[in-house]
Amino acid sequence: MHNLTIAELIKGLQSKEFSSVELTQHFLNRIGSLNPAYNAVITVTAEQALKAAAEADIRLAAGNAPALCGVPILHKDIFCTNGVRTSCGSKMLDNFIPPYNATVVENFEQAGAVVLGKTNMDEFAMGSSNETSFYGPVKNPWATDCVPGGSSGGSAAAVAARLAPGATATDTGGSIRQPAALCGISGIKPTYGRVSRWGMVAFASSLDQGGPMARTAEDCALLLNCMASYDDKDSTCIDREVPDYTATLDGSVKGLRIGVPKEYFSEGLDAGIEEAVRAALANLEAQGAELVEISLPNSGLSVPAYYVIAPAEASANLSRFDGSRYGYRCEDPKDLLDMYSRSRSEGFGKEVQRRILIGTYCLSAGYYDAYYGKAQQVRKLIQQDFDRAFESVDLIMGPTCPSPAFKFGAKSDDPVAMYLEDIYTVATNLAGLPGMSIPCGMADNKPVGLQIIGNYFDEARMLNVAHQYQQATDWHDLAPEGVAS
């Protein structure tokens, strides 16, 4: 059952080939036996899952159950779950049990999806390797001495290891697409404002966006149908109808204009990745798409702009963790200031502290205009690059990341080397555009991701092209050793 896609599981559930309780128990067993090798899941909610599965079976028996009814999923541990610990990968929230559900969690609950548990992640979503988690690193199912990417590395590894058919994730600078690429699965970061951020622990509020991960584009479409919604409680959510993303998957790519930015194929790109990505583009060209070379001249500025804006917003967002109302409080504080500063230095890991300090620096008196103001202007230049490109192309494609999964420790001592992992992904967050990664080959025996960038609210077209590519290829069907059996 774990080799079936969500689309196939839905058919099996609705035709009573198997029950949700059987399916749920099967995935819980897999998590029990395989997860210790990957550390992808940090909280298992077996009892609630089986109860929800039994309820789903009743709804399925009655007919008219929503599409995802009875389908098991995992939530990234950044989404608040009523009564279930939501740690955000941090010691700061190790004891935090939210009294409410995030809107995304609520949407899946309404749809009858079964939550198996919560996935590991970089602390407060700050990282590209999952090495900053308080709960220890996640291991890449393709090579357990390598990172799964981050920050949604737990969700990506869990889907790759088939511990769940799909999972929720979030993306602030590449945190859905980069781990999807490194773990050989599909993942989509929707347009900023498409998915509610309410109840999703905030990192950088003007960049954060939730999205789904699964093995196929079709499954991502099924999950996004449920995940995307307008929400009054998120003031930056956009009030716009959510289309049925599965309805347009079958359209032909004939005549589609695909922009290929020359800046995404420059120095620093691994040769094996370039080869796989070029082959994927050639496949789409053979299906009738037209490749157009484009230029995004300000691409090189996206990482510097991101590493001002994201830490600046994080330093403000994370000021709420002060040991007063919830989360970690240090032992025997001698006064209020001591309680704040010791709770924060003991509760936050090193990378989170570093980003708070950088953000504080960029926002402090005398530096605000030179850093934050300047970065927001550069952000506009980056958006204008994309606006110009979309005048002549329908989609933009290139690699998701510059190299395949790297070994643990390879970049953890050098923050700048780690930040450059995001070189092809951060620009879409800065512009607020949707981005997707799908598997398109192997390099050094590790998966390669093809990145698809769409215009605002053009997720349906991205999923359509990804699905058409997956109809013609089988990279998405490959499984790490020992996982499919």
Binding site: P99, P304, G323, P333, V378
Partner: protein, 95 residues
């Protein structure tokens, strides 16, 4: 770029993060390398470019001033480090 020890101490105070004396030089070195990266922005000509804060230029929505949330003090205080009589307790602020 090099950040002085005093500057790190000031930042630590502003951010309410206690930094151990023995780690200040390491913190300084790592922050400096990140600032070197972001300093590339200084060379960009942004004369007349509008700063962008929201991709779709959306503005904050307003709503009627009506009560929409119920009081959940007990639920929120159940997860607090220390409470008393419905109040959050912190170390003494005024002697």
């Amino acid at each position: 770029m090099n950040i002085e020890r005093q500057e790190i101490e000031k930042l630590a105070t502003l951010a309410r993060i206690a930094i151990d004396d023995s780690t200040i030089s390491e913190v300084s070195q790592r922050l400096s390398s990140v600032l070197d990266l972001v300093d590339q922005l200084q060379a960009v000509d942004t004369e007349g470019v509008e700063a962008m804060s929201h991709p779709m230029q959306a503005t904050q929505r307003l709503r009627e001033d009506e009560v929409t949330e119920i009081n959940q003090r007990e639920a929120f205080q159940a997860i607090a480090p220390e409470t008393e009589d419905g109040l959050f307790l912190v170390p003494k602020v005024i002697e």
